[in-house]
């Protein structure tokens, strides 16, 4: 089981063990709730128990009198700190004004209206239970349909439209559909998903000095968190030190501090005391901004050869009351055409406010593009009478088609979904499966094959603040290498992958390189984990910074050893001169010269061995490609879906660590399985959340996830290092792959599949089978 020994000096591409793991396995990790400071107080929130209404009065007296309670604060008590939140985008993105605590009106169950600060969380929760809030309840709007006709969630607004997004008018569009040989329609209703990071949100805010804060927080980037907090409170960013050593999953939820974290920080500043708030699971499943909840209807037009002529999409998404940013599917629109030879595309999207907790990010926020496109392509294949694999072959972009610009303006220059599909079909015997499937059907067993293809936009993904990372590398006098990167890990293993890159570049041992990315004051700004960006951009920055040092080391060695810099090689921790008999210096000796013996340096050279590089890839998009296939067996009695096999064929460019790449894919695919079969954040008609424990909100367990098989194609990208992102593709493509397999299994039942509602629970599957049987 041990990782194979690496060839001398080669680390990129090797399955090296993770540097993070020893501390995580032995309980020496530092998650936010593990941090304790002297005098620390604990927060609990008083939250609205109705989905919508005016606050008539709040009686805080009993809570304030409880022994151990230090304060019960309302929005008014937060004074100047009751301010508008900043967002991940670091600019005004429109939408309703969001403050840490609601003032006189509540808009969802869980809306925080007061924060209790006490000596322990137990006492804080006791006191929160003693606060009496008198509401004048109003009729809430809960669903997208409610939002279209109901009174505005934000009373000052004219309607519940949070955002609108559409493609420009094309007068010829309907003509294309009128003249098409085949027009196929499909609609999907996607449930709401709770990101369900195993570590919930949390913050510990310690005010000190003059207007300074030290903040431990669950985040996806200490820098982004510091900047959001700085913008929210109008404080200099350098006054805010954000530390996040270990974070138990982010998945988009922790991309910015939101109402509760900001309220706890505000309380710490009001009280001038350290305040900790750790979200519990009930809060996480009711009050953490959640994701998805979309409705998508797709019409596709094809010619007689099953070639795509046009795609028409209507899209709606529930933004809840206070979304992280108002959204009408702009990214769904951008990426919907995917890697297909499509020229005519129309999209109309609406985001709707409702009296539910706000919309947040979740891995592959635009994933509906692949789910809707790939499942409707399958409906089309069946309608036209060709295999689902064949319809993809006829429409996917080939190497010869590229460069190609999609109808939404995305350049496709080096995408390889067809190659991924070809490789997949080399290990998967389609003919044998179809024979097995036919034999099984004859015995009343229902096997199905699902295939989907896609490209994942990674790295900058078209969002400006995501475009760069900075690496600062220092070779210390000891010869050890310390690098501070603007990357961040919530499980991504960047302490390992970035060290692999730097160790290989500098020719030192992996164990001599340590990566630091946990402190906003230690390095330069980076947006952290978002958009599957860190391997590409952080990795590129690491290479460029290391190369500056390589040049300098070569010049020093050449000067000291009276050689040509071009003849100097860095390997195995040594600096060697080619062509001479074992003339070498250790990295330690070179570092000594650089730091303390300036007279031995070339005359024009600065002292020290430190380098910094901020890298921005030349491309706005770096695409990864993939084709997945899975086989399911559906029990006709119970409607239970058993996944029998899953093959992931992908191209994420140069692999830094295949085990970590596979881990990213596997985690995403498992989340996709949960999305299609199990998970649902549900509400009753009054807007009460009804899946508020992990007994009701069902995450995939070991028993739900099969062993995955992987095929790696490694087409280098144009970025430095040739890497492509891989963080989100797994979840994006697994959803349609699994839906397509279920549809294939149920072919004998002649289900139309024009309307799908997720999750596809056993009872829904049985309904599909019965509706046709009846």
């Amino acid at each position: 089981m041990s990782a194979p020994p690496t060839a001398a000096g080669r680390y990129v591409g090797e399955r090296v063990l993770r540097k993070e793991d020893t501390r995580l396995l032995t309980g020496r990790s530092v998650f936010v709730d593990d941090v304790v400071v002297a005098g620390m107080l604990h927060a609990a929130f008083v939250r609205s128990q109705i989905a919508r209404g005016k606050i008539k009065s709040m009686d805080l007296a009993a809570a304030r009198l409880l022994p151990g309670v230090r304060a019960v604060l309302t929005a008014q008590d937060l004074g100047p700190y009751s301010t508008q939140l900043s967002t991940f985008h670091m600019r005004d993105v429109g939408g309703p004004r969001v403050r840490p605590l609601s003032v006189d009106y509540v808009t969802y169950v869980g809306d925080p209206v007061a924060i209790v600060i006490a000596e322990s969380r137990y006492i804080a929760e006791d006191a929160a239970g003693l606060v009496l809030v008198d509401y004048e309840a109003e009729q809430p709007v809960v669903t997208i349909d409610d939002a279209k006709t109901g009174a505005p969630v934000h009373p000052a607004w004219e309607s519940n439209v949070a955002a609108v997004d559409q493609t420009p008018d094309n007068p010829d569009f309907e003509k294309i559909f009128a003249g098409a040989a085949h027009v196929v329609t499909g609609a999907i209703k996607h449930q709401r998903i709770a990101q369900s990071t195993m570590e919930t949100r949390g913050v510990l805010s310690t005010p000190h000095g003059e207007n300074e804060l030290t903040i431990h927080i669950g985040c996806q980037s200490p820098h982004a968190a510091a900047r959001c907090i700085s913008l929210t409170f109008g404080m200099p960013e350098t006054h805010i030190r954000v530390i996040a050593k270990d974070v138990g999953g982010g998945f988009g939820l922790k991309s910015q501090p939101w109402r509760e974290e900001i309220a706890a920080i505000a309380a710490s500043m009001v009280l001038k005391r350290p305040v900790k708030w750790i979200e519990d699971r009930l809060e996480a499943l009711t009050s953490s901004n959640a994701a998805r909840e979309q409705e998508c209807t797709v019409r596709m037009a094809f010619d007689g050869d099953a070639k795509l002529l046009g795609v028409d999409v209507e899209y709606a998404i529930n933004n809840g009351a206070y979304p992280h940013m108002p959204d009408a599917g702009s990214a769904v629109r951008l990426f919907f055409p995917g890697p297909y030879r499509l020229r005519n595309f129309r999209f109309k999207g609406h985001g709707w406010h409702t009296n539910t907790v706000g919309l947040g990010g979740y891995r592959g926020p635009w994933a509906m593009e692949a789910l809707a496109r790939e499942t409707v392509l399958d409906i089309a294949a069946r309608r036209i009478g060709i295999d689902p694999i064949e319809i993809r072959r006829r429409n996917l972009l080939t190497a010869a088609d590229q460069p190609f610009t999609t109808p939404t303006g995305i350049p496709m220059e080096d995408v390889t979904p067809l190659e991924c599909l070809d490789q997949l079909l080399k290990v998967f015997d389609l003919g044998a499966f179809r024979a097995e499937q036919a034999a099984a059907r004859a015995e009343g067993r229902y096997l199905g094959l699902g295939v989907a293809t896609y490209v994942e936009p990674t790295a900058a993904v078209g969002i400006d603040p995501l475009w760069s990372d900075v690496a600062q590398i220092r070779i210390e006098q000891s010869g050890k290498v310390t690098a501070t990167l603007s990357t961040h890990s919530q499980g991504h293993g960047t302490e390992t992958t970035m060290a692999q890159i730097i160790a290989e570049r500098l020719g030192v041992r992996l164990e001599d390189v340590s990566i630091h990315q946990d402190d906003s004051t230690r390095g330069g700004f980076g947006p952290g984990a978002a958009g599957s960006r860190q391997a590409v951009i952080g990795g590129g920055a690491a290479i460029k910074a290391a190369d500056i040092l390589v040049e300098k080391i070569k010049r020093i060695a050449a000067h000291v050893l009276n050689a040509n810099p071009d003849d100097v090689r860095l390997e195995a921790g040594l600096v060697r001169v080619t062509g001479t008999e074992e003339v070498s210096r250790t990295m330690c000796e070179i570092a000594q010269i650089a730091y303390v013996e300036p007279h031995r340096l070339p005359a024009d050279m600065e002292m020290g061995l430190e380098a910094q590089y901020r890298y921005r890839p030349s491309s706005y998009f770096t695409h990864a490609s993939a084709a997945h296939a899975c086989i399911v067996a559906i029990d006709a009695e119970t409607g239970f879906v058993k996944i029998k096999r899953w093959i992931c064929s992908e191209d994420c460019g140069v692999l830094i660590n295949p085990a970590i790449v596979e881990g990213q894919i596997a985690g995403g695919v498992a989340q996709g399985i949960g999305e299609i079969l199990l998970e649902e954040m549900s509400f009753d008609s009054s807007g009460n959340p009804t899946a508020v424990t992990f007994k009701d909100y069902m995450l995939p367990t070991e028993a739900d996830v099969p062993d995955f098989e992987y095929i790696h194609i490694t087409t280098p990208s144009k970025s430095v290092g040739g890497f492509r992102g891989v963080g989100e593709g797994g979840i994006i493509i697994s959803a349609p792959t699994l839906v397509n397999a279920i549809k294939d299994a149920l072919t004998p039942f002649n289900v139309s599949w024009e309307h799908i509602e997720l999750p596809l629970t056993p009872s829904r599957i049985i309904k599909f089978m019965e509706s046709v049987a009846a």
Partner: protein, 163 residues
Amino acid sequence: MSEHQIQTVINGQNVQARIEARLTLSDFLRVNVGYTGVHVGCEHGVCGACTVIVDGRAVRSCLMLAVQAEGATIITVEGLTPQDGALHPVQRALRDAHGLQCGFCTPGIVMTLAALTAGDERPSAETLINALSGHLCRCTGYQGMRRAVKALAAGELTERDHS
């Protein structure tokens, strides 16, 4: 709120404390005793992150009150690692198989597998995999854990490793 005196042995150390009856064992271990390797993921006994070994058995410490630990011998993930810094075979198996990502659920999984493989116990891979189904992980899709468990069941990792 009534208070009670308890006496326990935690990671080999005698620990006496006066505690409220309502204090969960997980909070007692984390907050009162300082073993923050006990992770609290759901507080309703589903996720398994808070699993510790109480008198030889894997227990969800969020579902047990600290007062119920009177007289008990408790091991947390911090106590599994011997003084010499070597990894326990379960920890080594998980590391070698890339069985973790964010690592939040990991201590609970380590403790469940450690309890089942303690002493001369040689459970089958199937038994260990069934035990894994009682733990939630949001990062890994359980792939590395399954590989680790198979290696453990095959007896590939009985010797302690010093890396």
